[in-house]
Symmetry: C2
């Protein structure tokens, strides 16, 4: 069964959970791993991220869309293109709790964005119990997350839940990914902060071929690395929750 | 703001909450009030409904779509067409908790179905803080509830949330209400119990002009009566939660 949780708090037990926070956490995690960061430590707040600061780590995060005070980077995916260290610590209000909540109910947790859409669908091909987890924004449903869940669901074979049908209807309602992202409430805050270019960047489809995967949790943070599972194969290691 | 909660557990504070459980609770409540029942006491379980049994009350409810043992009626709307008493006690697993949860966060709680779609939209015209609450089915999102939320949202003026846009996309994805109801997981159980006619019945649009409204809670049950609010006016009495 392919199913969708419209909020990170609505997760249920599943074989594979796929966490989606298109604007911008899972887009940033994906691009960071593709750019060469070996690990992304996903923290639920600026304070949690600060507590994870060490010499070998770059800190990225936002407060109200803008770079958090004292941090090395904001939460724009493009800021991760030139890795400074092996570890990126990313503070993200909605993405982190969705990943951590998913780790508690799913055997395998992947991280999806439009940037790696094809690679995500290849990872999921052949899996039977898939929950697409939309992070949402502060407890509210986000169009762009439901849109991507619908795109993924529509690309997969097998039975789907009512929630998956709902997401597919949303995916079909927009001509382009950019249209869906532009229609979202999240886009308003990005435009206000002069970060409109992030919307266009995050709307790009399948420009990288890595998929992030939760491999551990550490002090409340989710540790995401590149999934090395062969196409169509089952997970290569259990999540250490 | 017009907003949508995709599950009865995802309610938030709102001026007006509109509870939707198309298959079949809110359709049955609406038709019962239209047929002449003065009050519908909506209970969360067969046991709770049984505890509310008195001589002046008719009991309706289902177990796995079929009539509950010892009950007078099942949960098919048409069974309420000839009132036997002034009060109907309705046991409904998903509708009751959604109504009770809504009463705890909203100033006014209305009950919507396709059967009274136009009347619901007339009641909502001019209101500014509306939460459309999809009851769902056992914690899962139901297409038919999201479909009706989208139909209502699309008929109203004013700003809407991402969730409302999602629901409107679902409403636009089906040519007819019957198509939406037929696509739902809930339709499977009804067909299995030989209750396919309920799907067609609940898919009828605006065949009655009453709107149910929560006026009190009683022993955990929600007491729903006919809303007497004039079109466009504000609520005529507070909810006694």
């Amino acid at each position: 069964m392919i199913d969708v949780a419209f909020l990170g708090t609505d997760v249920r037990a599943a074989g594979t959970a796929v966490v989606i926070d298109v604007l911008r956490a899972t887009s940033t995690i994906t691009l960071a791993l593709s750019s060469g960061y070996e690990r992304v430590l996903v923290a639920g707040s600026v304070d949690e991220a600060t507590a994870l600061r060490t010499d070998g780590r770059t800190l990225a995060g936002e407060v109200g869309c803008a770079r958090a005070p004292g941090f090395d980077l904001g939460n724009s995916p493009e800021e991760t293109l030139d890795p400074r260290t092996t570890d990126l610590v990313l503070a993200t209000t909605n993405g982190a709790p969705a990943i951590v909540a998913s780790s508690q109910v799913a055997d395998d947790v992947l991280v999806a964005s439009l940037l790696n859409l094809d690679a995500v669908c290849e990872q999921l091909a052949g899996r039977e119990d898939i929950l697409l987890v939309c992070a949402g924004t502060d407890g509210r449903v986000s169009i762009e997350d439901v849109y991507l869940a619908g795109r993924i669901s529509a690309a997969l074979e097998g039975p789907r839940s009512d929630a998956a049908h709902v997401a597919e209807a949303v995916a079909a309602a927009y001509t382009t990914a950019f249209d869906a992202l532009s229609a979202s409430g999240g886009a308003v805050g990005l435009r206000r902060e002069g970060l409109e270019s992030d919307i266009a960047f995050c709307a790009q489809e399948s420009i990288v071929d890595v998929v992030g995967r939760l491999t551990a949790t550490q002090g409340g943070a989710a540790v995401v690395t590149v999934a090395t599972v062969a196409v169509g194969a089952s997970a290569d290691a259990p999540v250490e929750a």
